[in-house]
């Protein structure tokens, strides 16, 4: 890639041809966000079921998970998993005679973000499930549905409406947390902006571009979430 030299005459908003690089980074950022959202939803789903289950072991495991995750900063968790996880994997691998396994920043980043937001999703989904009115479940049981069918057909579709606002909040925070993957060396949009800003001596310009990109992501998500909220609240009377 050619690195254009900074020219003194150009204005503050001259990107010196670095915009494609920022866009590439944005694609990676969106990838990280979507994959970790998927992990978070799956974890949150099982976490919520565990928290509401009758088994005490499942409940306390889920409580320890959500408490620990929500008590430690995301950046610290990410470094624990990225640097510390690498060593643990090597230790285990050594004793089992595996080859060297490299934890890529992408895997560490998405896993950590998914793991963190799984805890937040657990709380959101738990609240959503609890908000489903018990008479709906009673009615389903009266129809003779087995409990797994009650969960799949009644509780799950109805909890979406209650969980959606919290889910939306979690997604917004998650999308912004993806900026942290640049700290563990992933070439996301923030990392690329740092490179471009250093080469052109216009760090403010490039970080501002990244900020605007994030505003686009959160703005579009906001519109989408509003639409979903309307769609899932069709059956609710507005006061």
């Amino acid at each position: 890639m050619a690195f254009p030299s900074p020219s003194r005459n150009s204005g503050m908003f001259d990107l010196h041809g670095y915009f494609p690089m920022i866009l590439e980074g944005m694609v990676l950022t969106v990838e990280v966000a979507l994959i970790s959202l998927l992990i978070a939803v799956i974890l949150g789903f099982f976490g919520a079921i565990a928290k509401l289950s009758k088994s005490r072991i499942a409940r306390s495991t889920a409580t320890v998970y959500t408490t620990l995750i929500r008590g430690i900063p995301d950046l610290v968790l990410m470094t624990i998993i990225f640097y510390g996880g690498q060593i643990q994997v090597n230790n285990i691998g050594d004793s089992l005679g595996w080859d060297y396994i490299d934890i890529s920043p992408f895997v560490a980043g998405t896993l950590t973000i998914g793991f963190i937001f799984g805890a937040y999703m657990t709380e959101t989904f738990r609240g959503g499930i609890l908000a489903v009115s018990s008479s709906e479940i009673e009615a389903a049981l009266a129809f003779g549905m087995p409990s797994w069918k009650v969960f799949l057909r009644i509780t799950l579709p109805l909890m979406v409406r209650h969980a959606l606002p919290g889910f939306g909040n979690n997604w917004m925070v998650l999308a912004k947390t993806t900026a942290l993957v640049s700290v563990i060396g992933l070439h996301d949009m923030l990392y690329n902006a740092g490179v471009a800003g250093g080469a052109t001596r216009q760090p403010f310009t490039f970080f501002l571009v990244v900020a605007l990109m994030y505003l686009c992501i959160t703005g579009i998500s906001d519109l989408g979430l509003r639409w979903a909220n309307r769609r899932y609240s069709v059956g609710v009377r507005k006061v």
Binding site: I72, V76, I80, I87, F204, A211, L215
Partner: protein, 230 residues
């Protein structure tokens, strides 16, 4: 696992903890000071006041804190006017850049929390204070703001915890806070797992203290809502 290194470096962690506490407290206090006028602007009927406040809140809630911090720490050097002004004394130092970024960020979130709380003021309270002949200033000072602070408390407690967690980002720009201390220990002795876990443990303890503190404050402020014991 080798924790002797950690015990030898405990003073470094404690110094880091002290820096973290400084960052969080200064940012929270100044952020709150900024948030109150911002939230009042955001509920004002005057659009010249309302739109700038809304734009501020939208920007700071819509972009990552790390980007905001980089904008200040790396970005400000782009402008010669700032490099030659008195402000450069602040923007030259990572410490002040981090504090300013944290304060501006938490101000955005706090203003949004307060705005919601102000808008939820029961209209009867406003009516009653008008009937008592209060001016608008007195009404805000005596009725609306105190009630809103109380309504905003649970959400603000969360925001304080988020600020504590966000303060770990200061370690990225060379500040030796708790996370920075862990980074130093790791780079000196190469004990990534132990060093970062220790920092995590300190953060966890701080979080628990904050949760406990806010529970205590809530108990104190919500006395009138407690179920009657007879």
């Amino acid at each position: 696992m080798d924790y002797t290194v950690i015990f030898d470096n405990l003073p470094l962690y404690l110094e880091g903890l002290w820096v973290t506490i400084q960052l969080v407290v200064i940012a929270l206090v100044s952020g709150f000071g900024l948030a109150v006028p911002l939230s009042l602007m955001a509920v004002s009927k005057n659009s010249f006041l309302r739109y700038p406040a809304k734009a501020y809140i939208y920007f700071f809630r819509g972009t990552p804190l790390l980007v905001q911090m980089f904008l200040l720490y790396y970005g400000m050097s782009q402008f010669e006017a700032i490099r030659e002004s008195v402000l450069w004394i602040l923007f030259r130092e990572a410490y002040w850049c981090a504090i300013i970024a944290f304060a501006l960020n938490t101000a955005g979130y706090t203003a949004e929390i307060l705005r919601g709380a102000i808008e939820q003021t029961p209209f009867g309270e406003v009516e009653a204070s008008r009937a008592c002949g209060m001016s608008k200033t007195i009404m805000f000072r005596r009725i609306i703001l105190p009630g809103s602070f109380r309504r905003a408390l649970p959400a603000y407690g969360n925001e304080v915890i988020f600020m504590l967690h966000g303060s770990a980002l200061a370690g990225v720009i060379t500040i030796v806070d708790l996370f920075g201390a862990a980074k130093i220990v790791n780079s000196r002795y190469f004990v990534p797992f132990e060093s970062y876990i220790t920092a995590g443990f300190f953060y966890l303890s701080c979080t628990f203290c904050l949760i406990w503190f806010f529970k205590w404050v809530e108990k104190h402020w919500y006395v009138h809502l407690r179920p009657r014991t007879s």
